[in-house]
């Protein structure tokens, strides 16, 4: 009785393990493809977008190194100035590779992906973005060694600026 029970649980454990392995391999295979073949912006939820972009990689809180500058209250959601600066030496061995800006409540959450080269000298980018409604804005920074740093700030939007 107990043995039976044991066998079943082991089988399910193995099954789920192998499923995990397949998923992980798929994730690695998909990563570079998804960047080029799939459109960056898709009509999806934030969770899906982050899963699609980073494949469930762990993210560290980047509050110490990443500064996300957005207004607390955006009167006009059609034009919201945003800037992200990251403390980084920007040497060829240690630099900020990508900066993603994600707006949680937008119907297409991914706003932009910035790819930087060490020649940039300083990891600072700014842009004017649109926000559909009040919600979190995240900046996710991918460093050259693959570490992900995330910060988010809440923005209150008086008039939404995303028709889509």
């Amino acid at each position: 009785m107990t043995e039976d029970h044991h066998r079943v649980s082991r089988r399910t454990a193995l099954l789920s393990l192998s499923a995990l392995g397949v998923a992980a391999a798929g994730g690695i295979m998909m990563m570079p493809r998804s960047a080029s073949a799939q459109a960056l912006g898709q009509n999806e939820s934030v969770e899906d977008a982050i899963k699609r972009l980073f494949g469930g990689k762990p993210m560290k809180d980047g509050a110490a190194a990443v500064k996300l500058d957005v207004p607390l209250i955006a009167e006009n959601g059609a034009v919201v100035p945003i800037s992200v600066s990251v403390e980084s030496p920007m040497t060829p061995t240690n630099y900020v590779k990508h900066i993603y800006v994600v707006a949680d409540k937008n119907r297409i959450p991914v706003v932009t992906r910035v790819t930087l080269a060490p020649e940039a000298g300083r990891a600072f980018v700014g842009a004017n973005i649109r926000l559909g409604e009040s919600g979190d804005v995240r900046a996710i920074v991918e460093q050259s060694d693959g570490t992900l740093l995330a910060v988010k700030r809440e923005v209150k939007v008086t008039v939404g600026g995303c028709g889509g």
Binding site: A39, L40, G41, N43, A78, V79, V80, P81, S83, A103, N106, R107, I108, V110, V111, T112, R113, V114, T115, L116, A117, E119, A120, G121, R122, A123, F124, V125, G126, A127, N128, I129, R130, G161, C162, G163, G164
Partner: protein
Amino acid sequence: MSDIGKVRLRIPSSVKPGDVVQVRALVIHPMERIERDAQGKIIQKNYNYINKVVAMYLGRTVATFDTTQNVAENPFFTFNFKATDPGQLKVQFLDTTGGRYEGTADIKFS
């Protein structure tokens, strides 16, 4: 709008060798938003918006922005680069209809 594609680049007036220079780039572009019909379904068409911005200095790419429709009309981007030699800074904006708009600025050391 006949102004579409006008690019303006702003760099500091005096640049010294080795400086990290902040560039502000603006392009006049409508950045069309997704339209929906009465049922809330997305109307499928080729929306005209900028999906790539490439900044090059001395022929090397410094920064690339992959953008979606969440970027405001007349997009405005800020980025930095390290000025090592005098030369040309070129910023290209590519949109989904194949439009390619360019702005250049000469980096001179005073």
